[in-house]
Structures are given as structure tokens and as C-alpha cells.
Symmetry: C2
Subunit: 259 residues, 2 copies
């Protein structure tokens, strides 16, 4: 018996002529019904994902990636130092960080120098700080500085929006790029129409490129409400150049959409 | 037109009766032929892996895992300290590690204490080492101690078999579990019939459980050649109890296989 794919009839020579329609029905009733190895659901040809080999490969890859993550996590917890406020670190602290309120944070020159080029320059060049074993902070609160120093030892911090803004400023000042990235990432993820203008101005001030782009594009998507917002009037008063930049980007965007 | 699955004939009422055989042929010629979204190869029902949905999900998961790995790597390179021999660390080193050959390795009490409970006890309890700011090493070479201290700062080391043996011993002595695991893992991965006996004896001496089990099972798989090896005679002479342990495990294994 042979198959041709033309009409939808049976010839008396016993040749079955199967039409597309019949093939569909035939398949649904009889063949081309597969079981997904992952979700165990049945599916048909048009819903096919991968062959068995590729499924097995993918599963292996996932296993290996998860194993690597485990190892990296172990590395991280090994590399973490006891935070400066811990009895262990205070033990042989060779530096005090004095904050505006007068409270001090004990630290270690070697650690601060290896994490921040700014601290490094301060302490290496036998400046006042290095001789006095004290770094006087005038522009950052004890709480923020404490979290910042803690991060230099542990690479751990629980962020909220305010903390992320504060720490990004300190990270920018002391050139701790890793922490700056962490904060910028958090702020980009928590962007919304309400904070987009403030975030754009902030990002511009502290050279946070990703946050700047993300907030700008959110602003451009909501131009209708722009001028109604208090933050807008504040920005016009405070930094009109930035507002101009917004309008220029808006024009450019419209031109692109038109083209 | 309807389908039944009994014979292999065409009835004059136009009912097509399709047999399994014909279904096979029909499929191969017309339907149930799928394209793998991963390798782009064609495959048939019996080689089906996943449905499209699960394929997409799996791809997403892989992307996310890779992203997490990237972030963890960034954390690690941030947490790494400049190794003690670097000018940066020597700068404010508050401790010298004196090795048998007289050469010293500069280090930082705070770092050593946070990585090793043994160093911590030494330095915390105002013992000789803490007062003199010197730790005298009598049983570890400069080269091995240098690599060990370097690891405490960087969590980085390029292992070969000898280095892994040496570092495991030091890691065990100073209770640096993370490095011990790394060495044990390397030695387990490089196990072979030739080094299995030595590795078994070594693992036993330094409480390396995984390495001990892995080498033992490799020994049990090659009992025929066991007594012919020099290492065997050495072990009989040096630590007969271990040889007894091997034979006992062999017996137990045979009993299990028999059961």
C-alpha cells in the first residue's frame, strides 16, 4: 500500500490517498503523539521542543552549572572576612574611621587599601590619615559608613531604596566599583514612573550609566504625565539642562519611530 | 472518513483501516517528523525529548544560572585580598611567618585569624606568637607555606598532585576546611590504580573521608593486582591495620554481591 497526498478518497486499487486534513486526524487519533520528558504532558508535532539527546544534554548542563554555583558560594563564604565590628576584627584593627557623630568604626588598613583605590592612596602616601591611624569622615553618617565598611569585608548587604542610593554615593566616592554596580542594579530593578525622574537626576550626578539609561527610557515612555509631576518642576528649577536632555531624547525617539 | 486500528485493508464503505505497520510507514513518510529546537535535527516520536514550553523554560533557567555564576564570580574577585607578598599587603603586615629555611612570609593577623581557628587561638590568647608578631614554622617548607598563606588571601591555587597532597596536610593542621575540600576533590579526581594505595593510606592519615572511600573502592576493583604492587608491600610493612581494613572491605563487598 502506498501513500500519496492529493485528494481525500480511496481508490479501488487499494491505494489510500490521504489529504492533509485526514493526516491531521490520523495523527491526533493514532500517531505523532509524544510525551514530554520534562513535564510528562502529551504534545503534538507542532509543539515539539527538543529531541531526547538534546534534552539529556541540557539536563547535564544544568546540573553542572548548579554544581559550579555551589563551589563559587563556598569560595565566597571562605573569602569573607569577619566584619570590622566583630570582636575578631577589632582585635588587630590598625585604623579608626571617625564619623561626624563622633562614633568610630575599627578597620584594617590592608583590607581598606585592597578594596578602595581612594583609601589606598590615603594610607600609602603617608598622609595625615596614615600617621594618625584615623580617617575622619565629615560627609557620611555613621550608619551608612558602617554598612559600607562592613561590605568591604563581607560583600554582603541587605538593600532598600534609600540604602542603595546612600551606598552608591559612598561607593562612587571611594571608587568601589563592585558595590556601585550592586546598588545600581538594585535601583534599576526598582525603577518606576514615580521615582524615574529622581533616579535619572541621581544617576546623572553619580555617573550611573545603566540607571541613567533605564530611568530615561521609562521617562520617555510616560511623557504625557511628565510636566504634571512635582519632581519635574524641581528638576526644571534645579537642573534645567537635564530636562533639556530629556526633551532632546524624546525628539530623537520620535524621529526614530517615524523613520 | 474514520480510522480503526485492526487490519490492513480498505473497506468499500470508504473506511480506512490502518494497521500499526502502515501507521509506521505513514508517519515516516508524512507525519510525526519533528525538528529539534536545539540541534535543529529531525527526529521521530520515539526520540522526542521535551515540548516547546519546557524547552523554553529550560533555556531560561540556563540563562539565569549563567547570570548568577557571573555575579558570584564578581563577588569573589571583589572579596579577594591582595596576596601577602604583594607590595600592598606587605605595607601594613603585622605578622611574620618564619619558615625552616629562614625566609619569612609577611601576613596580617586579622586575615589569618578569620581563616584558621588554629591561627586564631595562637594570636588571640596572647601567646608567644602574638607578642613576638612572628609565627615560627618548623615542619612546612617555605614554598608550601607560601602557597598556603597565599590561598588564605585569594582562594586561588593551581594544583598538581604533589601540591594537593602538601596543601591538604597544611589545611588539616590549620583547620582550613575549605582548602582541604579543594585538595581532596582534586586528589579524588586524579585517582588511578597506581596511586590508589598511597592515596588510601594518605587519606586515612589526614581524615580525608571522600578520598579514602574513593581510593578504597578503586583498590577493591583491582584486587587481583593488589599484592603485586610495591606500594602494597610498603603498606603491609608500614601500616598493616590498613591492609586488614582493605581485606575486610573486600570480604564484605563479596558478601553483598553474593546476596
Amino acid at each position: 500500500m502506498e501513500y500519496r497526498f492529493m485528494g481525500d478518497q480511496v481508490m479501488d486499487d487499494g491505494v489510500v490517498i490521504i489529504s492533509g486534513v485526514e493526516r491531521e486526524r490520523a495523527r491526533e487519533m493514532t500517531i505523532g503523539r509524544m510525551k514530554c520528558m520534562s513535564c510528562k504532558e502529551e504534545y503534538f508535532e507542532e509543539k515539539a521542543g527538543t529531541c531526547k539527546e538534546c534534552y539529556d544534554e541540557a539536563s547535564e548542563t544544568e546540573e553542572e552549572l548548579k554544581k559550579e554555583i555551589e563551589e563559587l558560594r563556598a569560595n565566597i563564604s571562605f573569602l569573607r572576612l569577619s566584619p570590622p565590628h566583630s570582636s575578631l576584627s577589632q582585635h588587630f584593627s590598625d585604623l579608626q574611621i571617625e564619623t561626624p557623630c563622633g562614633r568610630c568604626i575599627p578597620a584594617h588598613k590592608a583590607v581598606l587599601m585592597s578594596k578602595s583605590p581612594v583609601f589606598r592612596a590615603m594610607l600609602e602616601n603617608n598622609m595625615e590619615e596614615s600617621r594618625s591611624n584615623t580617617i575622619k569622615i565629615t560627609d557620611i553618617t555613621y550608619e551608612v559608613m558602617f554598612t559600607f565598611i562592613d561590605y568591604l569585608y563581607t560583600a554582603e548587604v541587605t538593600l532598600d531604596e534609600e540604602k542603595a542610593f546612600d551606598l552608591l554615593v559612598v561607593a562612587e566616592k571611594y571608587e568601589v566599583q563592585h558595590l556601585k554596580n550592586v546598588c545600581e542594579k538594585y535601583l534599576t530593578a526598582t525603577l518606576n514612573v514615580e521615582n524615574s525622574l529622581a533616579s535619572f537626576a541621581f544617576a546623572h550626578k553619580y555617573n550611573a550609566k545603566h540607571l541613567s539609561e533605564a530611568s530615561l527610557s521609562l521617562i520617555l515612555d510616560n511623557m504625557q504625565t511628565l510636566t504634571t509631576r512635582d519632581e519635574y518642576r524641581e528638576l526644571v528649577a534645579g537642573d534645567p539642562r537635564l530636562v533639556v536632555e530629556i526633551y532632546e531624547s524624546y525628539l530623537a525617539k520620535q524621529a526614530n519611530t517615524a523613520a
